[in-house]
């Protein structure tokens, strides 16, 4: 079962892909990217300027040896990361 969070997190990337992130004061290392997709915003509803694009990653990651799946989201307009959901 997955849980929804939506917590702001800090992420380090390499070649545009997340490699580690800090969530609830713990550092998670990304072991494997399971899926990656992009959703463009409904630009006609938003204000002028870049309405932004939301990039999603579903990764296997963990703070130590135990590994779970996590879904991360990067919003280009806000330039910020969220941890959306986690499977454990």
């Amino acid at each position: 079962m997955s849980r929804l969070y939506g917590d702001p997190i800090e992420v380090w990337t390499r070649d545009g892909e997340p490699i580690q992130f800090v969530w609830r004061d713990r550092l998670y290392l990304v072991r494997r990217v399971l899926d990656h997709w992009v959703v463009a915003r409904e630009w006609w509803k938003t204000s002028e300027g870049d309405p932004g694009e939301r990039r999603f990653w579903r990764v296997d990651a963990g703070p130590g040896r135990e590994v779970g799946s996590y879904e991360l989201r990067y919003d280009t307009a806000a330039n910020g990361w969220l941890l959306l959901r986690a499977w454990d």
């Binding site: 899926d35 990656h36 997709w37 992009v38 959703v39 463009a40 409904e42 630009w43 006609w44 002028e48 694009e53 990039r55 999603f56």
Partner: protein, 1214 residues
């Protein structure tokens, strides 16, 4: 380094309302990415194929062509338990596959597209596996790509196989793929990952499927954008195409990744799909590349004209065309009486040599066959354009203009150096054009002929409509916004808001529509839909469909997907059959002359023997008198305000003068200021000036001024000593600045070597330089001058019939009410609609007894005409005396063709009820007919008098009775005559004239006494006429304002000639024409014509006054203007406008506040001058062009003629 990635699934802007980038831009971007192969796979057709191949050839890339087609929905429903319904919009709405042609597979691809269009509804082609299989070609070939001349099917995520994979129905997917492989030899799985949700998962699973079944898999990006930022345009197009507002559910994408990615980016996609397995990545990219190489085609396969010699697609005519054509021209020489003419024989020899060397004999035979057939159908048919310069065309009867008579040259039409194909243009009656097409198709069959198409593209209004619709604006607001713009390009929208005074005043720029306008600009020029070209017909052999794909036009004509440039590039020969309304008008007028006066007029013969026939000599001075008096409204080519001014100055006295006149009134001659020197030399005010004595011969006919292309050819030929073919080559290069520089480098040394001194060469070069690529082909003008003269002749000698033709076929620039008014001024009486006398179209009625036949052949023998042009007394009001025109049923707004037919067939009628019963008009139509007096005669109504007389029947009573009739008859229109339960056919069918004001002889269930409702006033009548017929029949609309105009001292058109040059006057009238043509100064100048019932008034608004005038000029219908008189000729005058007002507003002001308030308003000083913005387009000879010239302005139709003020139902009838 890895080889470049080839994109195999790319949609360009020619995927209508889907793609966003033009083929050229895509090819250029691919070249920048270092790619060497690029495909174009537009949706539903090969519309962009020729342009793609051209662009690729120019960019040094190998082209691949293909098509993206929708699959016909499988007849069987989805498997039980699965989603039953497909969404109507969005990517799930239909399954699509991509079909690529192998290197030699063009013909099969074209045939498949044609078949797909035949199978689907119009504009929505559909294929099935079997259909693709039928054209896919044989098995074989390496790597599972089929035969060299075959087709390859790509099954991507949008295909039925892809859908099944995405839905995790693996077994179903395997079955479907198996079926595809059974039907088509070459099947490939296409992987796409645009980073959308589940894209990657589906791609991975499809790769697994392909590997397990041993099917090759390739990677594409399903490209539809050039840059990621184009996705907003794509979204708007998705919404516009499906007629829905923007919503994620309707859109084809979730991401902006469908752009032309670079090799590196595509490598990343491959790695994502293959899970970073390097072997699989390598294999996927390698297969993709191998397929691209197998499909790359030689550009010359499609670009037939670039081959040497050109690979032409020639019509087949059954036998060897060369001796056949030789035989035909020999016959023609004898028939035209040129058998002994040495000049004609020499010219013919030259033409035949070129025709035979270019292997075009069959084309001429085929075209002659078509024109013979058209004439055989009784349709008027005239050659136009450069083809009139060819003697062969004259001899085999394609045209009736003898090029030797007018000094026309063949080189403008067909020459050794000319790369393109000859193009024969013929004009036919517009009303019969489609009949001509049908006859051509019937004779040659759809395998050999097809119409040419053209792309309708987005312009300002259409772009605003589609964008605003996608953004969900209310329809009536969209309409208002779009109509505020003139017919400009979409990319001018924002600039025009600031540049054009009438838009500045509208405050549209501040309405928060920035985003709508910005997006609309980005739609600029994108193809919107395909339409039948107005004239092009391809004439080919049975292999035509191997060269071009064909679909159905709206009118069910087979139509090539190529436009006219593509057609030529592909080596297809065409004939232009243009419908010309004037030809229909002439034919109609001749019919009326015959019907009313019993005279046969031979418009195309100058003289003949038949005493009952009236012939039309080309030197009829009475006709020229009328032209010189500028009385040319309604005539072909010479009716515009500018032309009326020019003919008054030029005073044409012969056909050649008309040819010059038509050629002078073109941007070229206007631009290099040839009109003034020509007129001065013609009037004898100045000696003709020749750049060199040896050019006298070439320039004598136009008094030393260069007017025609033919003269340019002769100048070049004389100066360089080379032949006319060479000269034509140089002339065609004069079009661009770089071209002119190249020509100068060739021309100057050659002319010097030929013995001309530096000064002469310099003078001649300046003439050529100024002439540029403009100017007019004399052959074209000669072909035009003939109908011009014929129309003027008919107006002079059979005015009523002429106006009937013009009103019925509407060939000119003026609305019908102007023509009606001109007819009235020419003495023709205008009779109101009458259910018993009106016809389907405008009919001539003779008022007096039959006039003796006016055939006067003896006048021809009156000896040579005077050397001095005579100006005879010309009285326009006598032209049509004794004749009248009857308003027809078809002029009634909203009437259907079937209704008109019933109305005419049922004549005569005995009463309103009889008309209602037998003609069965719809209720609004019969009400309109009553309102404009169609039943006045029948019921003896005399509206316009005192408003109300008790007991007398009025039009309003009749309208009330229509209500009663409808209530008493069964509702709805039936196939048979109307019958009602309460209605019995009256026994007494005598006309009601015995008891005009009595109760209608009907079994009414409701009692309606006559005189119950007041009669219409004169003003109401005219208002109704204008609304329903668009014509003020009973009296001129300006006459209601006579009192106000007299109070203000407004000058009438007929009195303008008596005004001093430079004096300031007030004029008023109905606006009948507004033009913004290209003028020399680069200003946007507005030419407006007002009509005040005594003649036209021509006003010129320069930019300095447009700041305060433009909105009124474009918006008002009745106008009062202040202007300065400018005499432009002996009998011509024009006004430079200073200010203008809406007459309806002034009228309201006068009624509410009195005449002084009006005078105060008229004496206002205009505010700050604010002109028209926009960068001028500069030509090297000093010609500057406003970016807003030559666009049709926004026209506001009149809604009400007078402002309703309390207590007044309109202006008082005088």
């Amino acid at each position: 380094m890895a080889p470049p990635f080839p994109h195999l699934h790319v949609c360009s802007a020619y995927s209508m309302r889907y793609g966003t980038a033009f083929p050229q831009a895509l090819a250029q971007r691919a070249a920048e990415h270092g790619m060497d192969i690029l495909a174009l796979t537009d949706r539903d057709g090969l519309y962009g194929a020729v342009k793609h191949v051209q662009a690729c050839a120019d960019a040094g890339i190998a082209p691949v062509v293909g098509v993206d087609l929708a699959l016909d929905a499988p007849p069987a429903g989805p498997a039980p338990g699965m989603r039953a319904e497909r969404p109507r919009t969005g990517p799930e709405a239909e399954d699509r596959v991509t079909v690529l042609a192998r290197g030699e597979g063009w013909s099969r691809l074209a045939r498949l597209v044609t078949a797909a269009h035949r199978a689907g509804e119009r504009g929505r082609p559909k294929v099935t596996r079997e259909l693709v299989g039928a054209w896919a070609g044989g098995p074989g070939g390496e790597h599972g790509f089929g035969a060299d001349d075959g087709l390859v099917v790509l099954l991507g995520p949008r295909s039925d196989v892809g859908r099944a994979v995405a839905a995790r129905r693996d077994e179903h997917a395997r079955t479907l793929l198996g079926l595809w492989r059974a039907a088509v030899p070459a099947v490939v799985i296409e992987l796409v990952d645009q980073y959308g949700f589940r894209d990657a998962t589906t791609a991975v699973r499809m790769l697994g499927l392909a590997e397990s079944m041993g099917v090759p898999a390739v990677l594409t990006n399903a490209v539809r954008y050039l840059d990621p930022a184009d996705h907003q345009v794509g979204d708007v197009l998705d919404a516009a195409r499906q007629l829905v507002p923007l919503h994620p559910r309707h859109l084809d994408r979730t991401t902006s990744h469908a752009y032309l990615k670079s090799t590196k980016e595509m490598w990343q996609v491959a790695a994502k799909v293959c899970g970073a397995d390097r072997t699989r990545v390598g294999r996927l990219l390698f297969t993709t590349r191998r397929l691209a190489e197998a499909c790359a085609m030689d550009p010359l396969r499609l670009l037939a004209l670039r081959n040497d010699p050109p690979d032409l697609h020639l019509p087949e005519i059954g036998r060897d065309p060369v001796p056949l054509l030789r035989h035909r021209v020999e016959d023609g020489l004898l028939r035209r009486g040129l058998g002994r003419d040495a000049d004609a024989r020499r010219r013919l020899g030259e033409e035949m040599t070129i025709i035979e060397r270019k292997r075009l004999s069959g084309y001429f035979i085929a075209v002659a066959g078509i024109t013979d057939m058209i004439r055989g159908m009784g349709v008027r048919c005239a050659i136009r354009g450069s083809g009139a310069g060819s003697l062969v065309n004259y001899l085999i009867g394609i045209g009736e203009v003898n090029p030797l008579d007018h000094g026309l040259l063949m080189e403008r039409f067909l020459s050794e150096g000319r790369v393109g194909l000859p193009d024969i243009d013929v004009d036919v009656e517009s009303a019969r054009r489609l009949d001509c097409y049908r006859a051509i198709f019937d004779r040659y069959g759809e395998d050999r002929v097809a119409c040419v198409s053209m792309m309708e593209t987005y312009r300002a209004r259409s772009a605003i409509r589609d964008v605003a619709g996608a953004m969900g604006l209310p329809p009536h607001e969209i309409d208002t916004i779009a109509k505020a713009f003139p017919h400009i390009r979409a990319r001018q929208i924002t600039a025009s808001l600031a540049d054009l005074p009438e838009l500045r005043g509208s405050r549209l720029g501040d309405a928060g529509l920035d985003r709508v306008f910005r997006l609309a600009e980005r739609l600029d020029g994108l193809p919107r839909h395909i339409a039948l070209h107005p004239c092009g017909v391809l004439v080919g052999n049975s292999g035509l469909l191997d060269r071009t794909p064909v679909e159905r036009s709206l009118l069910e004509f087979p139509m090539s997907q190529f436009d006219k440039e593509d057609v030529e590039e592909a080596g297809l020969l065409k004939l232009d059959v243009l419908g010309v309304r004037m030809q229909s008008a002439l034919a109609y007028a001749l019919g009326e002359v015959k019907r009313v006066d019993g005279v046969t007029v031979e418009l195309d013969a100058q003289r003949g023997e038949d005493p009952d026939v009236q012939y039309v000599p080309h030197d009829d001075q009475e006709t020229y008198d009328m032209i010189c008096a500028a009385r040319t409204i309604g005539c072909f080519q010479i009716e515009s305000p500018g032309q009326r001014e020019l003919v008054a100055k030029l005073e044409p006295r012969a056909m050649h003068d008309l040819i010059v006149d038509i050629s002078l009134f073109r941007p070229g001659p206007v631009n290099s200021d040839m009109i003034t020197p020509y007129l001065e030399a013609r009037q004898g005010w100045r000696q003709p000036h020749y750049p060199h004595e040896r050019l006298r011969e070439a320039l004598r006919e136009t008094h030393g001024v260069v007017v025609f292309h033919e003269q340019v050819l002769k100048i070049i030929s004389v100066m360089t000593g080379r032949d006319l073919s060479f000269a034509e080559l140089l002339r065609r290069t004069l079009g661009t600045p770089e071209g002119r520089e190249r020509v100068r480098k060739t021309f100057v040394p050659l002319a010097r070597a030929n013995g001309f001194d530096d000064a002469a060469v310099d003078r001649a070069w300046r003439v050529l330089d100024a002439f540029g690529g403009f100017g007019f082909c004399k052959a074209h003008a000669a072909a035009f001058a003939l109908p011009t003269y014929q129309s003027a002749w008919l107006k002079r000698h059979h005015a009523a019939a002429f106006f009937a033709g013009v009103l019925t076929h509407d060939p000119g620039m003026y609305p019908s009410r102007v023509i009606v008014d001109e007819a009235r001024q020419c003495g023709v009486k205008i009779l109101p609609l009458d259910v018993n006398k009106s016809g389907k179209d405008w009919r001539v009625e003779r008022l007096g007894p039959r006039v003796p036949v006016r055939v006067r052949p003896d006048r021809l023998a009156a000896g040579p005409r005077d050397a001095q042009p005579r100006r005879r007394e010309f009285r326009a009001e006598d032209l049509g005396k004794g004749y009248a025109l009857r308003v027809p049923f078809s002029a009634v707004k909203g009437v259907s063709e079937a209704e008109v037919e019933r109305m005419v067939a049922g004549q005569p009628y005995t009463s309103l009820a009889d008309f209602w019963d037998r003609a069965r008009p719809s209720r609004p139509v019969i009400e309109r007919i009553v309102q404009v007096g169609g039943l006045d005669a029948l019921h003896d109504l005399r509206p316009g008098g005192p408003r109300w007389k008790p007991g007398e029947l009025t039009r309003r009573d009749l309208i009330a009775r229509i209500g009663a009739l409808e209530r008493s008859s069964a509702s709805g229109v039936r196939a048979g005559p109307r019958a009602s339960k309460h209605y019995t056919r009256p026994l007494e069918t005598r006309p009601s004239e015995t008891q005009p004001s009595a109760q209608l002889p009907l079994g009414f269930t409701e009692h309606l006494p006559p005189g119950e409702l007041p009669e219409m006033t004169e003003a109401e009548m005219v208002e109704a006429e204008l609304e329903i017929l668009g014509i003020d029949v009973s009296r001129h609309v300006i006459s209601f304002h006579d009192e106000l105009l007299d109070l203000l001292g407004v000058v009438r058109a007929r009195d303008l000639l008596r005004r001093r040059n430079g004096s300031e006057v007030l004029v008023a009238g109905v606006k009948v024409a507004t033009q913004t043509p290209a003028v020399r100064s680069g200003q946007r100048v507005i030419f407006t014509t007002l009509d005040d019932s005594t003649g036209p008034i021509d006003l010129t608004f320069f930019e300095s006054v447009q700041g305060h005038c433009a909105a009124t000029v474009f918006g008002a219908w009745l106008m009062l203007a202040k202007g300065v008189v400018r005499r432009t000729g002996v009998r011509a005058v024009s006004l430079r406008a200073v200010d203008c007002w809406d007459l309806a507003d002034l009228d309201g002001l006068w009624r509410s506040q009195g005449i002084d308030a009006v005078r105060d308003l008229l004496s206002r000083t205009p505010g700050e001058p604010a002109g028209v913005g926009g960068r001028r387009i500069e030509y090297p000879n000093g010609f500057r062009l406003s970016p807003y010239s030559d666009i049709a302005p926004a026209v506001t139709p009149p809604r009400r003629l007078w402002h309703a003020s309390p207590g007044s139902s309109g202006p008082t009838a005088a």
